[in-house]
Amino acid sequence: MDVTLRVWRQDGPNRPGAFEEYFAPGISSHASFLEMLDIVNDRLTLDNREPIAFEHDCREGICGACGMMINGQAHGPQQGTATCQLHMRKFRDGAVIIIEPWRAAGFPVLKDLVVDRSAFDRIVEAGGYITVDTGSAPDANLVPIAQEAAEASMDAAVCIGCGACVAACPNSAAQLFTAAKLAHLNLLPQGQAERYIRAEAMVDTMESFFGSCTNHAECEEACPKNISIDFIALLNRDYIKAKWRNGRLAAQR
């Protein structure tokens, strides 16, 4: 199949960028979206032109490295998958495909389709840890966990940190990512010791980079892991409790 790409090209951070058009004939409909980009890049390299920079790693939807805005949708038109799991058969022959990087002030563009997502690392650093005993390894299954709690926690823990939620949000809010990382630990017994310190620290860090949630639910649709915005409600609940409790704890010092 033949497709035409309109791709955002940008030399580096804080440099002006523009769309460039590439005609890509003879692409197999079995190719994944990233394989299609590989083919285009091979041809560009043979032409002595700069290949399109994009992030990728596992190519099986579990690492969260790849991600781009494809025809106005994060990770493209297919629901519940990352860009690497999108195949060219989802596009018709002769299609024009517009490819853009994630756009958010918290995700500055580094080059072409690559954005700096280290704001996510700052959020995880703020509270994505638990206290454990050091020394010899504990027995497995030492802490009893209700099946429901484990399942709910896993539904949050599937987050791969790709950034599609921020990219899809009209407010560039990172609520779904933060809620997933927070709920993942706050729903488990191991996460209880720092539960409210975590809620306050992660949300406050998030708000220093990103916008605020206005409940459009666009993130839920964009998420390659189908994480529910119900976790954002959990974040809202835990955050108000955290402000109350942590304020009282500060008064005891």
Binding site: R6, W8, F19, M69, N71, G72, Q73, I98, E100, W102, R103, A104, A105, G106, F107, P108, V109, P170, N171, S172, A173, V203, D204, E207, F209, F210, G211, S212, C213, T214, N215, H216, A217, E218, E220, E221, A222, S228, I229, D230, I232, A233, L234, L235, N236, R237, Y239, I240, K243, W244, G247, R248, A250
Partner: protein, 241 residues
């Protein structure tokens, strides 16, 4: 020489203020004040239905509002307490909206060349617009039927004759159209607000989430239909002096 510098600790304010400083806190405040304002809209709508009982009943209802609390409190004191509470809720609601809008515009990293939204509704995207329309409408509405400020109020405005004022005002076609447009904007605003406030307050659960859309739609339909009926009833001559 090693120096041990203490991290600068910001003064911690009482927790409601600390909470309001955050965007999540502002959304809580928007939801709570939204409930208060929504409660007013519903009560106002139900009270106004008395206009269909005729001038005496309706004017009596207006007087009864001033007599709220009966002989237990000074006359109009309870009404003023409600008004001040409502004004406070409205100011907080608008301030939080203004502040969050500024935050969100700053957080944007430029526009996409193409963006296909999947989940957003017209209501959720237009909250800032419909909210502004409603805000200006409230000022107009107060000038028209509460304060009787010329030239907004009808020439025949007479303080206390609520029924005649309403009919005289809505007999002016441009004013009737303005009320209809403003109440449609209010309906769109309430639709997203009613659905959204549960999420902001942390009440989101698959068990009752399907109710939320129904509640939002039902409440919106009731408020819009009843509120639109007043200017239309005056225009077609069902309500007249």
């Amino acid at each position: 020489m090693a120096t041990t510098e203490e991290a600068p600790t910001r003064r911690r304010y009482p927790w409601p203020i600390e909470f309001y400083r955050s965007a999540v806190g502002k959304k809580w405040v928007m939801a709570l004040t939204g409930i208060a304002l929504l409660g007013f809209v519903v009560a106002h709508m139900i009270g106004n239905l008395k206009v269909y009982f005729g001038p005496e009943d309706f004017n009596h209802y207006g007087e009864a509002l001033r007599d709220l609390g009966g002989d237990l409190v000074p006359r109009t004191s309870l009404l003023w307490a409600l008004r001040i509470g409502l004004l406070g809720a409205a100011l907080l609601h608008v301030h939080a909206a203004y502040s969050l809008t500024y935050t969100n515009w700053k957080a944007r990293g430029g526009r996409y060349r193409q963006r296909d939204y999947v989940a957003v509704t017209y209501a959720s995207r237009s909250m800032r617009f419909t909210g502004t329309v409603v805000l200006f409408f409230i000022v107009f509405h107060l000038a028209d039927l509460t304060w009787g400020t010329a030239p907004v109020a009808p020439d025949e405005f007479f303080r206390g004759d609520v029924y005649a004022n309403l009919v005289a005002s809505f007999e002016r076609l441009p004013v009737a159209i303005l009320y209809i447009v403003a109440n449609l904007a209010l309906g769109v605003h309430i639709y997203h607000g009613t659905w959204s406030l549960f999420q902001s307050l942390g009440y989101s659960h698959p068990r009752f989430n399907r109710w939320r859309k129904g509640l939002a739609a039902g409440l919106t339909a009731a408020i819009v239909l009843v509120n639109l009926s007043f200017p239309i009833a005056v225009q077609v001559g069902i309500l007249e002096i």
